[in-house]
Point group: D2
Chain length 360, copies 4
C-alpha cells in the first residue's frame, strides 16, 4: 500500500490535496449498528477549522462534512463510511510564486525527488489540510470508543517555552490555544504575538489522555499499542518527538523508581503510580494511557530564507500566504483522533484474542 | 494480522518464546540475487548475545542462526528466508516462583488479561529474547541497504544520567556499553556498578544514524518515514520515547531556527543544518537520518516490590534469575536492525513511485 | 481490513450503496506522472451504464465520474486518486415492499445475519451498482498497463446455452450483448426475449484476454497470478465459476496433451500451445492470459418465489423493480477492469523482485 | 508483501524449498486457549505424505512436524505458532540434468524471468512440496473450526474421465485415490496404470464440503467468502478451475431454476435447494459450502518433450526423477486445509462485524 491507508480492522483511507476539489476519508471496518450523524463528525472538524483566532491562518474553510455511504437510517451498516469535505477557499495565486522553490522545513524537496512533480499549491498532499480527513475519520472511532466508556482528551501542554502548570479541562475550550491553564494561556499568547511581530513561528507540546481503556489491548511484539500510537502520532506533520508515560525521562530513572507497583482494590488490579503511561510490554495495563507529541514550529515564515529551485539554482524565499504562527492548538484534535483510530483498531483486533470469546 | 508481521514489501514475521524450543524470523520480499550467508547474520546476533560482560545477563545462549530457506548457492532466491535460532539454556526453574505473580514494569498482567494464560518462563513471547529474531531479520535488510551505499550505525548515547560528549565509532566496539566516548563509558560503568550493588537497574538513550539515504523515501501521509521509524523503534520493549532530528527540543525553537536552509553544491541539493534529522514531511531529504530511542530501566530487579497474583491477592516479589542491569548496550544493535527494516521496506516500496521508473 | 480494499501496491478502496448519496473509489499507489483525465475513466463507465438496451435495467444513471484528488495539471501525482459517482435515480419506493423479505439468490439473508440490519433499497452495498466503482478504479489500472503495451479485452462468450463460435472484436462494440459473433448475438437475443416473456433470467460466460504481459508477474505460492485473478473475478457478484487457460477441461487431459512445449523464435521464448492460459506455477509465462468467468442468472425475477421474512415467517415474493434479464453484457467491462487491477498490482509488486532492478 | 503470507486475522506465512533444509509455516493470529499437539497436525500431514501407494512419488519423507512456538502446556498462547518440517530425502542428483532446461508445464521459465536465478532442484519454491506447510498450518485452522462445529471434508470427485457416482466418506480413507466410490476407484486405478505405462499423467477434480458454517461469514464486496476461497484454492499448484455450488453450470440455468427458495423450519431459515453452494453475494447463507478444484495432469512426465534452455537454445527433455502420475489424491487434504484457513480467517474477522458483539 502507498501510505494513505491506516489500520487493520478499523481501516481508514484518506485522500485529497490542499487546493484540489476535495479531501476525505473512507472508513472500512466500522461495526454495524452504531448511531452516527454528520453532526457527530462536524463538531470535531469545527475544532480544527481555520480562521478561528488571531493565532490561526485566515484561510476560510467551512469544512462541512458529508457522509456519502455506510450509514442507513442513522446507523452504521458495517459497510465503508465515505466522508467528503469540499475545498472552498483556494487562493492558488498565493502559491504561484513558490511554484519552483522548495520551502525550507517543508516536504517540497523530498516530494519532488520522490514523484518527479508536485502540486505546489499549499503543499498539495503534504498540506496540514489533510488532517481534516483524519479528524473526520477519527471522530467516528472516538464515537465507537465512547460506546464502551473509553474517552480520549488532548490539550496543549506547552507553546514554545511556556508550559502549563495545571490541567483544567473546562479551561481548554475557553481559550484559542486549547490550554488547560489560563495563566499559561496568557503567557503563551504574549509569546506568540512576539513571534508574529518577528515574522517567526513557534512549536509546542500536545498531551493526550485516554481513560477507560481495559487491560489487554495491543500486541506483544511489533504491534505494541504504544508502537502503534507512536506511528499514528508521528504521522501527523511537524511532530518530531513522541513519549508514552514518563517518556524520555524514564531513561534517567532507576527500576525501583520507574516500576509501577500493583495492588488490589475493589477486586480490581490497580497501580500505585503510572510511570508506564498505561502500557506495559506493548499491552494496555488498565491505567490511563498518557502520551505526548512534540511539535516543531510552523515552517512557513515570512522572513527571507535561503533555498534552491527545482532546476537547481540557489535563491531566497519569503513565504507570504496565510499561515498559523503555531499549529499546536489546531493539532490537538488531530492527536485525539489519531489516538482514537489506534484504540478502535486495537479493540476490534482484540476480539479474536481468546478462543473463549469467539462467537459464531 | 496479529502483530508479529512487520513491513509491506520487505516483510518480517517473527516467532518464539523465551523458553520455548526456538525463536526465529521469516523474511518475505527480499529481492533475489543478493549474496547472503549465515556469517552475515551471525555477526549481528553476536553483538546482542548475552553473557558478554558484567553488565549483561549471565544467561548463556550460543544464538547460532540457521538459514532454513530462501538462499541457494550463496544468493537470495527472492523466496522467503527462514531464520532459526534454537533456545539452549532454559533455566525454567528460575521462573517457577513467578508463575502466579505479575512482575511490576513487565507485560505479565496485560498479557494475562489479553490471552487468559501466559508462558511465565522468562516472559515468554514478551521477553527481550524476541529481539534476537529482529536482529537476524534486520541484518539481512542492512546487508541489502549496504549494496546501495546506505549504512546504519547506532550507539549508546547515555546510561542513566551519564551522557556522551563525543562520538568515536571505533570506541564503540571496544567497550561493553557500546559507548562512543571512553570517559563516558567509565563514568557509566561506575553508575551501573552502584545500581547492581543496590539491586537496582538503569535506563539510557540509544542514538542511530543512517547515511547515504537518498531523498524521496517515505510517504506523505500515514506512512511517513519517521512515523514508520517511530513504530519500529517503539516496538522494541522498554523504549518509552522517540525522537527524530532535534526531536522534543524542536518544540522550544522558532521556525527561523528550526528550518534547514537549502543550498546547491556540486550540482546536488544540500542543507546548511539538519534539525529535521533527514526527514521532512515524512519523506527523506537526503541528509543523514538521526533518531533516538529512550529506554526505561530494566524492570526486573532483586529488590522486594509490591504486586498481585493472577488470582487477585496482594503479595510481594523479588526477582532473582539472570537479568541485565541495563538493556541499552544489547539494544543498540536491535535499534540498528529495526531502522534497517524500515529503510529496506521504504526503498522497495519506492520502486513504484514514478511511472518512468516502472520496468517490465 | 473489512473487505472493501483490494490490492497491495496498487490498492483500491471502494464505497457506496445502491441508493445512498454516492459510490466511488480511492486508488492508493498509482505511480506519479501518468496522464489521466475524467474522459479516460468515463469511457469505461459508459460501457457498464444501465438503460442502454432492451436487455438491461431501465434505471437511468448518468454515472458521471469526478476526480476529486491525485491528479494535477493532467497527470497523476502519486497520491490517492479519489473518484466520485453520484447516485441520481433512486426509486426507493420500488424496494419498500422488499423491506422485510429476503430475496432468493441475493445476499439479503446472509447480510442481515452478519450485520443485524441492512439497506434494503436495491441491495444496498450488495447491489451490482458497486461495480461502477470497480470500473472507475480499474480503468486507471488499464491506462497504466497500456503505457507498457499490456492490453486487456473481455467479451461475452455465452448467454445461457448460446455460445460464440468465432471472435471478432469489432463486432463486440456493435451489439448490445457485447458478443464477438453476430450469429450468436442474434440467437442469444431470441433466447433473452423468451426469458423476459417468461419473467425469467439468464446467465452466461465472459472471457477475458490480456496481451503483452511479460513473463515473471505473480508469485510462486499464495499470491499466484491466477489465484489473484480468481479472487478478483469471483469477487464480482453472480460469478460462480472461474477458469484459467483450459480451466476445468484440463482435469480431463493428459500431461502429454496439457503441457505447452517451449521453443525459441527471434531470440524470445515461445510456447507451441497455450493450454496454461499464460500462467504456469502462478507466474506469467509470456503468452496471452486467458480467463473465463461463469455468471449465474440474475436472481431478481418477477415470478413468484417462496422466501421468508426477517422476523422468521414464510412468505412469497415477486420482484418488480428494474432488473437486467442477464447481467453478463454489463459485467464484461467489470471483468476487464478487475483483471487490470490484478495485473497493475502484480506489475508494481514485481519492481522489487530482483536486486539488480532496485534503483535509489 | 511478497506472496507467502495468507490471511488477515488468522495469518499464515510459509517458507521452504523442495530440496532446502526445511519447510514450514508460522501462524499469527490463532486465538489463545485452544488445545493443540503435534499429533493434531501430524495426522493431516500423514495424509499428503508421499510414498504411500503406486500412484504417488516414491520420494520418502517422514514429514514429521515440530511445533517451535506458540503452544504452552498443551494450549495455544495467542502468539505465533511456528511449525517446522525438515527435508530428509533430497535426491538432488535427480535434478542436475534439468539445471538449465525449463520443464514444460512448470513454473521454471517464469520463475527464472522473475528472479534471474532459480533452485532447479525439484522446482525449489515452486515444488508441490510447499503444500506440506499449508497442510501443517491448515490443520490448526481446522482444529479451531471444529471447536465451533464447523467441519471440512474433501475427496476425489474425478480422476481424468472417471467420475464418482456416489459419496461414501468411509470409503475415502480406504483407497489410495481418496475416492468416496469404490467402483470409480477401481476404474480410476486402471486409467492411471495406463497413464504410467504410457509415461503420461492424469488430472482430476477435488470436491470439498464445509458443514456447520453459520450464515454471515464473508464480506459483500472484494472479500466475498467465495472470492477468498477461489484465491486459496487456485493458489494450489496445478489447479486451473474453481467452482462454488453449481459453478460453471449456473451459467446455463435460469433464475427460476438457480434461485434457492428460503423457508422456515424449527425457527431456523433453510433453503429448499443449494445451487448457491452455501454462499450468496459473498456471504455464507447457512447451507453447506460446496466447492470444486479442477486439477491439471502432473506436468512432469518421462516422455520426451520439446523445450528451451536458460541460455536460449532449443532442446528436448525427459523428466526422470520420482513423480506422481496424478497429484489429485495428495491434494485432497491440501484443499481441505486451504478451505479451513479461509473459514478460520473469516470467522475471526467477523467478530467485529456488529457493535453489539464487541466486548472489552
Amino acid at each position: 500500500m502507498a501510505g494513505s491507508i491506516f489500520g487493520k480492522n478499523f481501516t481508514v483511507t484518506t485522500f485529497g490535496e490542499s487546493h484540489g476539489a476535495a479531501i476525505g476519508a473512507v472508513i472500512d471496518g466500522c461495526p454495524s449498528g452504531m448511531h452516527l450523524s454528520e453532526e457527530d463528525i462536524q463538531k470535531y472538524l469545527d475544532r480544527r477549522k481555520p480562521g478561528q483566532s488571531e493565532f490561526t491562518t485566515k484561510r476560510n474553510e467551512a469544512d462541512k462534512v458529508e457522509i456519502l455511504s455506510g450509514v442507513f437510517e442513522g446507523r452504521t451498516e458495517g459497510t465503508p463510511i465515505a466522508l467528503l469535505i469540499r475545498n472552498n477557499d483556494q487562493h492558488s495565486r498565493d502559491y504561484s510564486d513558490l511554484k519552483n522553490k522548495f520551502r525550507p522545513g517543508h516536504a517540497d524537496y523530498g516530494f519532488f525527488e520522490k514523484y518527479g512533480l508536485r502540486d505546489y499549491r499549499g503543499g498539495g498532499r503534504s498540506s496540514g489540510r489533510e488532517t481534516a480527513a483524519r479528524v473526520a475519520a477519527g471522530s467516528v472511532a472516538l464515537k465507537m470508543l465512547d460506546e464502551f466508556g473509553i474517552e480520549v482528551h488532548a490539550y496543549t501542554r506547552a507553546i514554545g517555552p511556556v508550559e502549563i502548570s495545571s490541567v483544567d479541562f473546562d479551561e481548554c475550550g475557553m481559550n484559542s490555544l486549547y490550554m488547560p491553564d489560563h495563566d499559561a494561556f496568557q503567557k503563551a499568547s504574549e509569546y506568540l504575538k512576539e513571534c508574529i511581530k518577528n515574522k517567526d513561528s513557534a512549536g509546542g507540546v500536545i498531551e493526550c489522555i485516554a481513560t477507560g481503556v481495559p487491560a489487554g489491548l495491543g500486541d506483544p511484539v511489533f504491534d505494541k499499542l504504544d508502537a502503534r500510537l507512536a506511528y499514528a502520532i508521528m504521522s501527523i506533520g511537524a511532530v518530531k518527538g513522541f513519549e508514552i508515560g514518563d517518556g524520555c525521562r524514564a531513561a534517567l530513572s532507576k527500576g525501583s523508581e520507574n516500576n509501577d507497583a500493583f495492588f488490589m482494590e475493589n477486586g480490581r488490579v490497580h497501580k500505585k503510580t503510572n510511570h508506564s503511561g498505561g502500557i506495559l510490554g506493548g499491552i494496555s495495563d488498565g491505567s490511563d494511557i498518557i502520551l505526548r507529541a512534540y511539535v516543531k514550529p510552523t515552517p512557513s515564515i515570512a522572513q527571507e530564507q535561503s533555498t534552491v529551485t527545482d532546476s537547481g539554482d540557489d535563491t531566497t524565499i519569503e513565504i507570504k500566504g496565510r499561515h498559523d504562527p503555531v499549529i499546536v492548538p489546531r493539532a490537538v484534535v488531530v492527536v485525539e483522533c489519531m489516538t482514537g483510530l489506534v484504540l478502535a483498531d486495537a479493540l476490534l483486533s482484540n476480539q479474536s484474542a481468546k478462543i473463549e470469546n469467539i462467537t459464531l
